[in-house]
Amino acid sequence: EVSQPTVAKEDIVLVTTVINATNPYMASWIEGSKALGEKLGLPVEIVQSNGSSQTQIAGIQALAAKGKKIVLVTNPLAASDVPAIANTIKQNGGYMAVWWNMPPNMEPADVGDHFVAFGTYNGYTAGECGAKALVAAMGGKGGIIALPGVLDSTVSQERVAGLKNVIKDYPDITLLDEQPANWDQAIALKTTQQLIAKYGDQIDGVWTADDAMMLGAYEAIKKADMIDEVHFSGEGAYPPVVDLMVNQPDGDVVAASSFHRGYKAAATGMLIAYKAAVGEIDISKLTPEQRHGQYAIDCVTPANAKDFQANGGIDPTWLDRLIQDPFMDLVGGPVEGPQG
């Protein structure tokens, strides 16, 4: 009775992709996929790309070649990978949901039924969340260094735009420098050390596009004995960062971080694709906002960090509730751009 062809449950293999398993965000992504797999009683295959689009696509294709129908949730390495992945899934007869990263001129509905949904969140808001808390901690004045991810990542660019959007209202805040640290803790450490040499005491805040880079920058500032004067903001709510927010071991540190939990995202996307595959969702009846939806951002700051930490960020009933309503975290359609 649904418009799209359906698949028997036993013919399904659940698949997800990660860059590597040593990144906390990815680890929680894997955890979410596995939790859902357990609930559904289906095996989960993990494709690890090690930062290579080629490997990522090859892995998905390899699983397709095993004969089962793929139900995929992916946070693709690069937006430009999506067409190739969509092709693979189409040929396989499976279903997929894509999170965060997609070419701007693409819409799931245009691609076809096998591309069930695209989920995004407001990167500007995410960047703003960290920036606002940072500026507040700095008392509205001082110098900030910013560490974006890789230069041509849209995700990173959006977050940086959010940062800039916030600080333009604070004439006493200067953005001292912007040096990409490639999402990498070690590079962030090295880069921050150079920036310390350049700006020294002028640095009052460090804004990073991701918590891994924040941890690197944090270590560099600590080693330079500046930890008491400098505030940090990251993104992703990595447990160690939430720890820092709760414990504030260095007295005056404010870590502010927004939240788009890998756990929830992976489970949600996988579930939507699954329901489409087995016919629990009729794709033709999905609203545009459901096929290209926006997910809420929780802004974690020292004020709410303790609560966040207490339940590990996940309400124990969340997964069961999700299975009832896979679109429950959805707050709207496509992201519009920075406000104001």
Binding site: T22, A27, A186, I187, Q194, L195, A197, L215, P240
Partner: protein
């Protein structure tokens, strides 16, 4: 490997001498002058000197081992993998936030032992299965990264708990960062090996003409294994230093170190064909690149063209150093 041959080994050998080292000094001086003009307030300062030296420490340590490998005419691409594996072993065997086994100071020798073993494995496979070092060490790069990933598991980042140890590398003694002083000790050790031991001299001989080395009765395979093991140990130490710098375990602590070190070796004037040059020259290469990296950021050069500027400087430096050796019928690969 022929493409690695800088000067024709077979063709009666254009000898590198102290004078050709002047080109590197001149390049470093030129960079310092240029960056001092571009950023007179921050570049020529003691603080910045320490920043540069500190960032040079890890590649210098790697470079000592890597230079010896290159002196034999071989190449070690496994640097980043070995750093990851050894670094992760070190962190997990030290007091850390994951509370894995803490074996105290023994974590240092054990981690270095891991690097030594990986290096020796590279050397053994290369020397006895006769597979080019290029490919064995490339494979070992992946193996090392894989070991680090397996050790990391799916759990949280392990943070080092020993604050004193974590603070040591960047702390200063006699006004210089400890990390750099440690690196200098390793350089001195490497230099003594190169100059005053059979291992070092045979390394040069092997690099100059391996066939002759064999006919002379030098046990080439054994020396090659030793050298790869030593290089592995150097990378492992670098992995430990990287982990201390991060204060945490990360599989990719070595990210970017391979090309940096290779470029430093080439710029320093050690021809990749082997037989000439050595650790001291590599130190110059590392200093040039570290200064360049630091200077580009301090001068505010657009990040998207930094890799291009580095590439151009690399090529110009190598051209300048080798310009006088250009000759009709010169072999260069």
């Amino acid at each position: 490997m022929t493409f690695l041959t800088g000067t024709g080994a077979a063709s009666g050998c254009a000898r590198l001498n102290w004078r050709s080292g002047l080109a590197e000094v001149a390049i470093l001086a030129a960079l310092i002058v240029v960056f001092s003009i571009l950023n007179p307030t921050h570049f020529p300062t003691l603080v910045n000197l320490n920043t540069i030296l500190n960032s040079a420490a890890i590649p210098v340590v790697i470079g000592v081992g890597a230079s010896l490998v290159v002196l034999t005419g071989r190449i070690d691409l496994s640097v980043e993998g070995v750093m990851g594996a050894a670094g992760m072993v070190f962190v997990l065997l030290s007091a850390n936030s994951r509370e894995t086994a803490d074996i105290g100071w023994l974590a240092y020798p054990v981690a270095i032992g891991v690097g030594l073993a990986l290096g020796a494995a590279t050397g053994l496979v290369h020397a006895f299965a006769k597979v080019p070092s290029f490919i064995v060490s490339l494979g070992m790069w992946y193996v090392g990264l894989g070991i680090a990933a397996v050790l990391f598991g799916y759990e949280m980042i392990p943070f080092l708990s020993d604050e004193a140890a974590v603070a040591w590398p960047t702390a200063t003694t006699f006004g210089l960062p400890n990390s750099f002083l440690l690196a200098l000790c390793i350089v001195a050790f490497g230099w003594l090996i190169e100059r005053y031991t059979r291992l070092g001299r045979y390394t040069r001989a092997i690099g100059n003409n391996e066939g002759v080395a064999r006919m002379t009765g030098i046990p080439v395979a054994a020396y090659v294994v030793l050298i790869f093991a030593f290089a592995g140990a150097c990378s492992a130490l670098a992995g430990i230093m990287g982990s201390l710098a991060l204060g945490a375990g990360a599989a990719n602590v070595g990210v970017g170190m391979l090309f940096l070190t290779l470029a430093a070796i080439v710029i320093g004037g050690t021809p990749l064909g082997g037989g000439q040059g050595g650790a001291l020259r590599t130190v110059m290469g590392v200093l040039i690149l570290s200064t360049l990296y630091n200077g580009l950021i301090l001068a505010g050069v657009d990040p998207s063209i930094q890799s291009g500027v580095s590439g151009v400087v690399l090529v110009v430096a190598v051209i300048a150093a080798g310009w006088s050796q250009r000759a009709k019928l010169r072999v260069f690969k």
